[in-house]
């Protein structure tokens, strides 16, 4: 047992496991911010009075939501980087990291949009009618009345999207980000097959430790912030 532990210790000294998790956390952090912004814009488009914007928002959501994330990542590499020759940094590692953030952002923005729309659903009709009655037009009504309440009602689905985002950040391997957790786990298992269960458990528990608090926090916040009706 002691032997096992010391070998196991060596294994984790040889590989930078926290570093790999840190890459996933950073990916999640940036993609969360950007997809929240993009998703809010999309949600506004979908509830706006302008038909072409509604259509564009709906089309975006329907396409992105129904495309596997792996496809989006590979597409970024083959089309945007290779053919359109758009580089986001001269440093390859930075470049593909940023593409990873973009891939995660455009995919999860579709889900953020739908979460916010479900939040809009929790806003009672009277609120919107009252906003119109006092003469607010669409954008001021959305900004002052609808969205603040919608966000509070959308915390639970937004939290779920954040959890999905964190887990999906492993898929950036398809856009050549090679420092994240799924790549490291595979490397570690391939050269230390006798520790396969232990290695998997470390990574699985690592994600559980990150995901479960987000879930608890979301539940707490959505109960705390829900508009009492």
């Amino acid at each position: 047992m002691g032997d096992f532990l010391s070998q196991f210790g060596e294994l984790f000294a040889a590989y930078d496991v926290p570093g790999a998790f840190w890459v996933n956390i950073q990916l999640t952090f940036w993609a969360a911010i950007f997809s929240l912004i993009l998703g809010t814009v999309l949600a506004l488009m979908r509830i706006s009075p302008i038909a072409s914007l509604q259509w564009a928002g709906a089309t975006y959501v329907n396409i992105l939501r129904n495309t596997p994330l792996t496809v989006i990542m590979t597409f970024l590499f083959l089309a945007v980087w290779t053919q359109l020759q758009i580089s986001l940094s001269d440093d390859f590692a930075q470049n593909f990291f940023r593409f990873g953030v973009i891939g995660l952002t455009v995919y999860h923005a579709a889900f953020v949009c739908e979460s916010i729309r479900s939040g809009v659903n929790t806003v009672p009709l009277g609120q919107a009618e009252a906003a119109r009655a006092i003469g607010l037009s669409f954008l001021p009504a959305a900004r002052l009345i609808i969205l603040p309440q919608a966000f509070r009602g959308a915390i639970a689905p937004l939290g779920n999207t954040l959890i999905a985002l964190l887990k999906n950040s492993t898929v950036v391997v398809a856009v050549s980000v090679s420092t994240e957790t799924s790549t490291l786990m595979r490397e570690m298992i391939e050269s230390n097959a006798n520790f396969i269960y232990a290695i998997f458990m470390i990574f699985a528990i690592g994600f559980a430790v990150l995901v479960i608090p987000i879930g608890l926090l979301t539940t707490f916040l959505s109960n705390r912030l829900a508009v009492r009706r």
Partner: protein
Amino acid sequence: MSQKSVLFDAPGPRARRRIAVGNVVGTLVVLGIAALVAVALANRGQFAADLWSPIFTTSAWQDYFIPGLQNTLRAAGYAVVGAVVFGLIFGSGRLARVGAVRWLSGVVVEFFRAVPVLLMMVFFWLLFGYNRISDDPAFLAVVIALILYNGSVIAELVRAGVGNLPKGQSEAGLAVGLTGGQVLRSIQLPQALIAMLPALVSQLVVVLKDTALGQIITYNELLRAAQIFGNGNSNNLQTLTIAALIFIIINWALTAVARWLSRYLSGRTSGATATGPGIGNPTAVAGKPGGPGNAIAATGDPSAT
């Protein structure tokens, strides 16, 4: 559509003019971006006939896209059936009267919802491989990983579905002398399952999309078939586009079915029908059906994974 919304007044003549202008500008912006991308790709020769023509041959479909799609559907089919069974078992487990069963089911469900599917796939692929459990460890790994994750989501759907039934349902069952287990089996679960159906179909979209992760562990699903074919003709981008279109069309259709089912079934159960399973916590999604008269926007179905 726009005149029915409660978010803005029915537009008058001036507003209508502004909306018309907005429409034109919006359309132009969207078309402009599309045109810009298309021109850039055309400049790179990406619309050249010799990159596209290999795709429209019998061999491309017979040897690559259709077998790939078959493999995708096969993995998704097994995964969905397995996930429903897993979900029913552990969902009922979380509603059990014995504390230990409830606790154990809770741990299992929470654990598998927290671990990324790709991580599970890589692990099972290597594990089955090393232990020579199957001739096709990649297939088995894809199916098992999808069952564990989606089964856990469905377990939560079951729990939420039962939890959302009016209390009177179980009280009535108990009042006529049924035991707790009998109430669950013959009154609560059947109604919860009906309420779950649309969400279940939405979950099928999630499963189908996630089979594409099998590409990374060399499972010959649609995306990988497209990649292999693209390697032979140096047209990876074009074959990827075709694979993406196939995925989008199938998933779009499934989403439409889910929406239709949700409308069709609402009012046919005393639980609320949810279109979307949510990713981690369906209770919250299904548990907050908007109050009556909330015609602001359609219900969202955040079925991200």
